[in-house]
Structures are given as C-alpha cells and as structure tokens.
Point group: C2
Chain length 631, copies 2
C-alpha cells in the first residue's frame, strides 16, 4: 500500500481514489439505479429470512439469550453499506464466532460476550491501522481446513443436546460427547423426532434447488430455489406454528425457545466492568479472563471474512485492510447495542450472491427486516422449538466439514496433511483456540524446516586447469537455523578429502544471509584453514557478500565464477596452469553466466543431469559425494 | 546421524565407533599415559581452586545455602569423564543457571531447585534421544548476545546488595535497581569498602597474566599466570582470614557467609513433593509452578555447553546429542545429591584449557577437591565475607557483556541488531526466561519475513517471435505466508497490461511449494483466465510441479524455457511466427540453460544488468515495471 502523499504530485485524483478505497460507497452509489435497487431489495429480504432463524440459533449456541443473536444482526449490515468492499458479503453472527464466544462466557455472564465484541473491534482496528493483515497469511489452507472441520464437528455435537432434548452442562468437545452418550437414555422422544424430521426436511429442501428441470420451466426453477433458500425460515416457522397449536391445547411436548425480550437493544456503553456472583469485576479483570480470545476472535473473524471476499471477488484482489476496518467499526458500534462478535457469514453471503444482489445496499433491507423482527415478532419466537433451531445449525455446519480436500492435498503435498490433521485433532481435544494456535505454530515449524536443514550437495570438481576442489551447493538462504548443520556437513565432507583440497560453497540459491551465518562460516573457515583447506564463497549476491565482509569474516569471496580457478590456485599456493585468455576490456557479465560469456570461443557445454548441478561450465570432471552423512 | 545398522555390512567396527561416540572415554583412555596424567592433575586442581569460591557464590546467587553450590560441583565432573566429548569442558554451577534457578525458588523452598535439576536432566535426555539438538540452532548469535549480556547485567546488579551490605527482598531487575538506589543510604561502610577493594584486586590480578615479560623469564610468567588464575580463591581466602581475625577479637564489621553444612550431601530421591508453609505440594503442582523453566533451563544449559564445546573444539564438529546426554546424566544423578541445575562453565573451562588439560580425566581431581572441601573446609567457609563473594561474581560476569559485537553486527547486517537489543531489553524488563523466548520468536518472525513478502519483479518481455508477455520473477519458495502477497502483486501487474498478455512466473528461485500456494495460484490462474490472460509457470523443479499438478491446479507448466514461446502462442491462440528450428533428437538440457544449448548457433547474449534478471537468452526486449506497487 503506497501512502497517499506519494501520489499527490503525480495524480490529482488521489483523494478520490483514497475515498473510493476507504469509503467504497462513493464508488458504487453514483451508478445506482432502480434496476439495482430492485435486485437489492429481493436479495436483502431473502438474506433477512435466513438470518433471523440463524441469529436465534447462534445466540443459543453462544450460550446467550436468543435476542442477542438479533441484536448482533443489523448493525453490521448498515456499516457494511458504507465501508464494505464486496457486494456479496453480509455481516452478522456466525457459528464459528458463536462457538468461540461460548467458550468465553461459560460460567460468566453476557457482559463478557458484549465486551468481547467491543475488544474484537478495537483489535481489528489496530490491526487495520498497522496493516497487520499479514498475520492472516500465516494461516494456511491446511490449518484452515482442519480448524473449520473441527469447529463444524464441535458445533454439530454441541447441538445434539438441543436436538435430543437433553439437559446437562459440559465443557469442551470430549466432555460433551461423553455426556451425550451417558444421557442418551434421558432423550425426549418428541424433541428427538422433531429434530430428526427437521434435519431430513432441511436436507431435502437444500437439494431441491439442484433438481434438473427443462429450461422452459424457469419460473418453477426460481420458485424451487426460493423455497430452498428460505428453508430455515420455513422449517422454523412450521415448527413454531405446530408448537403454538399444541401449547394452546395446554400441551407442551417440545422444549421451546421461551421468552425473547421484545424491542430494540438499549444503546449503552459496552460493559467495562460487571458483577459475577455479587462480586464486582473490573475491566482489566474481564480482559484477563477473556485472555487470548481478545486476539484470536478478531483474527478468526477477519480470516473468515477475507476468505469469503476472495471467493466472491472473482479474482479481483481483496483489500484485507479495508475489510479489517469495516469489521472493526461493525464490532465496535455493535457492542454499544449488546451485540456479540460478528463477521461475514459464508452461508448468508452465498444466499446473497445467489439472490442476485447488485450492490452493498442489499444489506439495508436485511438490517431493516431484523429490526422489524425485534419490534414485532419476538412474542412469536417464544414458540420456536429448540430442536428445530438445533437442526438448522447442524444442517448448516455439516457441510463445512472439508473431507473432500484430503485427496488433492495427499496428491499435492503429503506433508501438508500433518498440520491439517494436527489442527483438527487439537481443536477437538484442547479447544478451538489453543488448537488453531498450535496448528499455526506447527505449520510455521514445518515452514522453517528447510531453513534449519537446507538441501546440501557435495561434489568433487576438477576444473580445466586440473585443480580439484570440493563444491558444496547450498539449497537455501544462509540464516541462523541452518548454519550449524551446514558447518557440520562441510566439516565432515572436507575431512574426507586428502591434503589441502579447497572447499567452494556455491551461493547460487543463497538469497540472503545473517550475522549468525557469517560468524558460523567464519569459524568454519578458520577450522578448515588450520587443516590447510581454504574456504571460498562462489558468486554470492551483493547483499550476501556484504554480510560476510561486514562481520569481519575471514571467508574468501569469489564473485565471478570464471576467476575461481585463479583464486583457488593463489589460495592453495599451486602454480597456475595455463588458462584460457580472457579479454579484460569486455563487460563483466553477471556471475551466473560468467563462464558462458567469457569462454564463448572455446565453449564446452556439459549437459548437467538435473537442475541442481552447478553452472560452472568450465568443469571437465565431476564426482558426486553421497557418503557425507555417513559418520 | 545415520543409524548404526546402516554401517553393519560396510564396516565391521560400527560398534566400536558407536562406543567411541557415546562413551568417549573408550577413545582416549587406551592412549592415556603419565605425561597426560600430570597435566590433568595440575589442570584439575587449578579448576578446583576456581570452582570452590564460585560454587559458594553461585549458590547464594540462586538463593540457596552455600553448600548447595558445592553439592552441584562434583557429580558433573565424574560423569563428564565417562561421557564428555570435549576435554576442556568442566560441568558445574554457572551464574546463568543460578539466576534462572533463583527466579524459580523465590518464595518457595530449596526442593524446587533440586527438582528443577532432576527435570532438567530428564528433558535433556528426551531431547537427546529425540535428536532435538536442532532446537538450539534456533537461538541465533544476536539473541545469544542479547541474552547473555542482559543476564550479566542482572547478575551484576543483584550482587550490589551483597557488595554494599544491604538487606532487602526484590523481584526482578527493575525492582532490584530501584531498591538498591533507595537503600544506598543504608549501605554498610565496611562491606562496601571490602567489596570495592576485592573488585579492584580481582581486576588487577586478572590483568597480570597479560604482563609482557622477556621470553627468558618463563618461570615468572608461569607464576603470574597461576596467581591470576587462582585469584578468586586467593581473594576469598585473604578476606576470610581477615574476617576470622576480626571475629576472634569479637568484632564483626562484615556480613559473613555463616554456617555452611558440613559433609557430603545425603543420597536421596529428588523431592517429588514438598511442604511449603505447612501445606503439602504434590509433584505435579511443583511442575506447574516451575512452568516453562522445565523446558528453558535445559535448553539454555545445552546452548551454553555446546557453545563452549565449539569454542574449544578447534573446528571439529561438536556432537550436540552426546553433550545433551552427558548433561542429562549429570543433572539426573546430581539431583540425587541435592544439586541445582548444572552445565559447562565458560570461565572454568577456559581455566582448564589454559592449565593445559590433556583429557577429560582432569575433572576427576576437580571433583575430588570439591568433596575434600565439603568434608574438611566447611567450618572455615563461615568466615567468608559476603561482599567478597559478590565481588567474585561481579568480576566474572561483567566480561560477559558483549558490547563489542554491536559494531560488526551493524556493519554486517543491521536487521540483526533488532533481535539482539530486543532480547536484551526484554530480559531486563520481563525476566530472562520470557525475554529469551520473545527474542527467539522475534528472530523467527524476521526469518519468516522473506516467506511472507518475497522479492518480486515484473518485466515485460518481448521474445524473438514477437510475442510479449509479463514475466514475474519470484525471489523465494512458494509457501503459504507469501501466496496472497504474490497473488495481489501479479493481479495488479497483470491488470495494467492491455488485452490478453500472458503472465509467466519464473520459478528459478522456487525451491519448494505447498498446497496453499498451489490453491492460491490456481485461483489466480482462474481469475486471469477470465480476463483472457493465461498464467504459465516457467521451469519449476520437479518437486514444485508435482505440488501444482497434484492439487488439481489449472496452472500451465512449461518445463523447458525454450518451449515457452510455442506454449504461449498456443495458449493465446496467436498464429506462431517463424521460430528458430530446434533439433528434437538433441538431449534436452536442464531448463535453466536450455536457451543456451539449443540456440547456440544464433546466440544472442544479452548482458543483464544485475544478478536478478531472467536467464531467457532468447529475449530481445525487456522493460522493467517499477510501478506495480502503485495502486
């Protein structure tokens, strides 16, 4: 990201470009028209019908009263109209953040959820201002797959309780599984039946939009699609009507949602302090209790949001910073209206996209619908059976279990299955927060492995002038984790050579070096010198050579491959054999192609066997050493 | 390390080699003779005279009664004879580990120090068996410099208390500094004077061995060296005699060491449980209280030991695994004799080396001397003034502050000063343990930076056949942290080109790739395709190409640089212009030198401006794009 001031002189419209970047509404609003408005109204209302049952369900999943889900579902919509950069995204509560919120408010009170929402916004704002979107780059696909799959399993299992009409308190995935199994005999028949029916119906309704119809029946196809898209609302509505009728006959076979507080949430400061068990808890104590989730919830939130944006951006690059800022505003302002942490919802964004949303303005109608629901519909939410909400959640999350990615991953790079499965297992065993941190760390360790154990190859090379030397090719940059390994390898390889055979390190793949490496190779050079073997760095880049010379290193550097022979003869004190004349007036070519340019007239090209052999084209004899590891 | 079984067929002496590796005494003992024995006796006794005052001082530094220092000083000596691989090293208590022990036993009891010693041994054993010596490679020179310098400052400041005869309790470096300043008016004149004198005498005696003498006065030179080497013992002895005489006159101007328990430590199990404030603490509770030091103390111990071994190994490669195993035995067995954690001492190993030690057997005499001291001298230790011990420690640690490394580091690679100073500052502010962990993490983050933000270069290349394409050179491997960045860069660069200009990614420096990268470039390829721009990977290594094909990627791969033109023309649907004939029967050269070998007869060498330009020698026109960042 270039700073705006850089552009001031070159392009007069820098302020407009900044405006369009940071306030994307200025970009699309001027071109708004009635056609787009109609598309937005349809899409917005469709999404609204999806978000209302989901909001109630996710609030329950987070351990909050159902109205909190609705409280969290409108502010994000309004903010996104102004700041959002991707027309398809709709912000609101998600299963993932609900689960992470649940882990924080167990045994505490709802204030923690709202404070977490506020802090999530603050952290996202800081990340946005500091351009810390780079952190998201460190969450790889395997870790994401493992994490979302594990989360889906955890959420699905957590819903078994509501689905079966059980009552127990549990902590963590394994505990929930255990208690579900133990409590199965106590399952309520009515709830279980209702839940099972809901799941079957939801899965069937999910499928009907894929029914193959002749192209002329476009209307029917559209109707089926609408039916399929609003399946959550329909199922929940039908169940609620059923429960209402039963209740009016003074029967209550199902566990119901119960009273949902009516009206809009009060506008108030986020709870910077609360009371738990009659004891006052300060802001800092609350922060300490929220712990790592203050950092993890924002990152996971952005991760999901950016992933969705990328999926719908159809190849346009996504401005992670802008999404961070938008999310931060939505969370900060949301927390003034008792929201829990929110982010972009994949399922609803897909509905939005499929409904043909034209601009970010569609979110307006979603937000209004949620507010209307809060004002008018809350008395009816009382009758929604808990089992039906559980069914809605289960049917949403089971498709997030990404088992189908395992096969391409296996074919592509097996090592990537390690972080994927480790993250999956760890999330299930130690919880999603620790799990993803451990997964990322594991992945970074695997990433660091080539630094610590670079590919090394040793060859005995005999040059045109009859001088033999030990050529070591290092397949990585020279940074601290690998220095000791390289040093030991070279020491072993060198000790197997008789007399004063010089050691040449080919720096072709060395893109950088650090002080530790310089010190290490300096010590190596001293050790080899004491055995009469000079050490030479061949053709290092300028930035690498300067690290070595700056460290006061005693390593010899030969920048031009063609000068190697002469340098080695000087170093070993050998009498130089006649070498091919080179014309000093000629422009010195870059080291890598040096041999080529200068020896053109007596060119002797050795076709190397693989892409790892040296570019020293003057070489007349090579012998690979395979036994270096053999101590 | 190759497994022994690998050698069984090739070399009959594999068991002897394993023996010599894991029980180095079998290597040097057969060649032992009286000459070596004499050298070992002299060196062993000299080291013994150094270790006794140091042990008393370091025990005090660790917050333990003085005899614990001596308890820790003999078992390591005996173990090292059998298992040690470097003749100069002597194991025992060190200032660094004493400080780390002190942080653990503050407000607790001595059992924690002994249990920490046992657990240190266990962890080192596990690390040795799992070949986790690689962990040490992640502690770079800058972090080590920052850490040891900070430790030295902390230790020196902590000794001001004893030096000035002050009495207070403090926690952490900053608190100690504050309390020393506040308490300076209460400083005891006698202690302060004695301490200051000791420091002056110690520093002078340290210098006298460097006095330039004519070569014929060899005897005098040796005497001065001996005087200098045993300066700690001499100063402490003189001070004790002085204090004893005063005490006999019923005067006690100095704070004295006080009663040191006589005799050898009892042989007993390490304390798997203890009693603090009348409350029983179980083994697991003790472990929980020791926390991260269970992992850090062993790693720091090995780090120091391996560093010393390398310093004295004169270039021979050091077997970190063997040193780990030796240290683990010394710590485990030591904990049965009430030792605190031990490792190789740099100062005493230097004395050992300078005394001309011939084999590891020298440690025997050091160990015996310590046992004799415990049996016979403890009554006299009572009179050692605390200020003199403080002076001994201060004079030992101030030379560990490595300010002189800053200059070469600045000249070599300025970025390395960041982890150095950060580690230094963090160790002082938040303590040595958190400090070194944070330093290592920071250094790893800096190491990962090139992965997340690889060097990228965009050029417009017009080939011989008149086809223009956008050539992107990636200066790093394709791993997950950098994919998003590359994707955005390529998207921006491609969007500035008109029409269907193909995009070619030069994989010359790409040594590896992962699934995330494959997925990311696949998405990039799809996005570019939708704009009519094909994406081509040029000359990836086999291991990289397989990652892309395995992921079901839609990216085109051109293995041979010479086929690029034809491939691009096919992809863009352009009518191929006449190209130079290539002989299909010829052996295909490796991609990197392909253009050279095949176009030999019409060779048109472009002298590239720097070492980062492409090897495509068929190029006739290039234009660098510098404005890609400019969004």
């Amino acid at each position: 990201m270039a700073s705006p001031s850089k552009h001031r002189l070159k392009r007069p419209s820098w302020y407009r470009r900044l405006m369009q970047k940071r306030l994307p509404i200025t970009k699309w609003l001027p071109a708004y028209n009635s056609e787009k408005a109609l598309a937005d109204i349809i899409a917005g209302i469709t999404v609204g019908l999806t978000v209302i049952p989901q909001a109630l369900a996710y609030a329950t999943l987070a351990g909050l009263p159902p109205q909190y889900g609705l409280y969290s579902s409108f502010m994000g919509c309004f903010i996104y109209i102004l700041f959002g950069s991707c027309k398809d995204i709709t912000l609101g509560p998600t299963a993932l953040l609900a689960l992470m919120t649940y882990e924080q408010i167990q045994g505490r009170n709802f204030d923690y959820a709202v404070l977490l929402c506020f802090l999530t916004g603050i952290v996202q704002l800081i990340m946005g201002l500091l351009h810390l979107g780079v952190l998201i780059d460190f969450i790889s696909v395997p870790v994401t797959v493992g994490f979302t799959s594990a989360t889906s399993v955890i959420i699905a299992v957590s819903q078994l309780k509501g689905l079966l009409g059980l009552q127990f308190k549990s902590r963590g995935f394994l505990d929930t599984v255990k208690k579900v199994v133990v409590n199965i005999p106590n399952a309520k028949l009515a709830d279980t039946l209702l839940g099972a029916c809901c799941i079957v119906v939801l899965l069937l309704m999910r499928k009907i939009k894929d029914v193959n119809l002749p192209p002329q029946q476009k209307g029917l196809k559209k109707a089926l699609w609408l039916l399929s898209t609003s399946r959550n609302a329909i199922v929940v509505l039908l169940c609620a009507v059923m429960a209402f009728l039963w209740e009016n006959n003074s029967q209550s076979p199902f566990k119901l949602t119960g009273t949902v507080k009516e009206g809009l949430p009060p506008l108030s400061l986020p709870p910077f302090g609360t009371v738990v068990d009659g004891k006052h808890v300060t802001f800092w104590e609350m922060c300490a209790e929220l712990g790592s989730s203050i950092v993890l919830v924002p990152i996971i939130g952005v991760l999901g949001n950016v992933a969705i944006a990328k999926a719908f951006a159809s190849g346009e690059s996504v401005d992670a910073t802008q999404e961070l800022i938008t999310l931060s505003f939505a969370n900060i302002l949301g927390s003034f209206l008792s929201a829990m942490p929110i982010t972009g919802s994949f399922s609803r964004s897909a509905v939005n996209h499929a409904s043909g949303v034209a601009t970010q303005f569609g979110s307006l109608y979603t937000g209004i619908l949620v507010i209307l629901a809060l004002s008018l519909l809350t008395p009816y939410f009382y009758y929604i059976p808990k089992a039906s909400l559980a069914a809605v959640i289960i049917c949403a999350v089971i498709f997030m279990i990404e088992y189908e990615v395992v096969k391409p991953m296996w074919r592509s790079r097996r090592a990537d299955l390690v972080p994927a499965f480790a993250t999956f297992a760890l999330c299930l065993i130690v919880g999603v927060e620790l799990g993803i941190v451990a997964g990322v760390l594991l992945n970074v360790v695997l990433l660091l492995y080539p630094s610590a154990r670079p590919q090394l190859e040793a060859e005995i090379v005999t040059s045109n002038s009859g001088l033999s030397y030990l050529l070591i090719t290092v397949g990585n940059s020279l940074y601290f984790p690998g220095v000791e390994y390289i040093r030991q390898y070279v020491t072993r390889a060198a000790s197997k050579q008789s007399g004063n055979v010089p050691v040449v390190i080919d720096c072709r793949y060395v893109l950088g070096a650090d002080f530790t490496a310089a010190k290490g190779l300096c010590a190596l050079s001293n050790a080899l010198s004491s055995r009469g073997q000079p050490l030479v760095l061949l053709s290092p880049r300028a930035c690498v050579a300067s690290v070595f010379t700056g460290a006061g290193s005693s390593v010899h550097v030969v920048l031009n491959a063609n000068e190697l022979d002469v340098s080695l003869q000087e170093l070993t004190g050998q009498i130089p054999l006649p070498v091919i004349e080179t014309d000093p007036k000629r422009v010195t070519p870059p080291p890598m192609y040096a041999s080529l340019a200068q020896n053109e007239d007596s060119l002797e090209v050795i076709i190397a066997e693989d892409d790892k052999t040296s570019p020293l084209l003057t070489t007349v004899h090579r012998k690979k050493i395979s036994e270096v590891d053999d101590t």
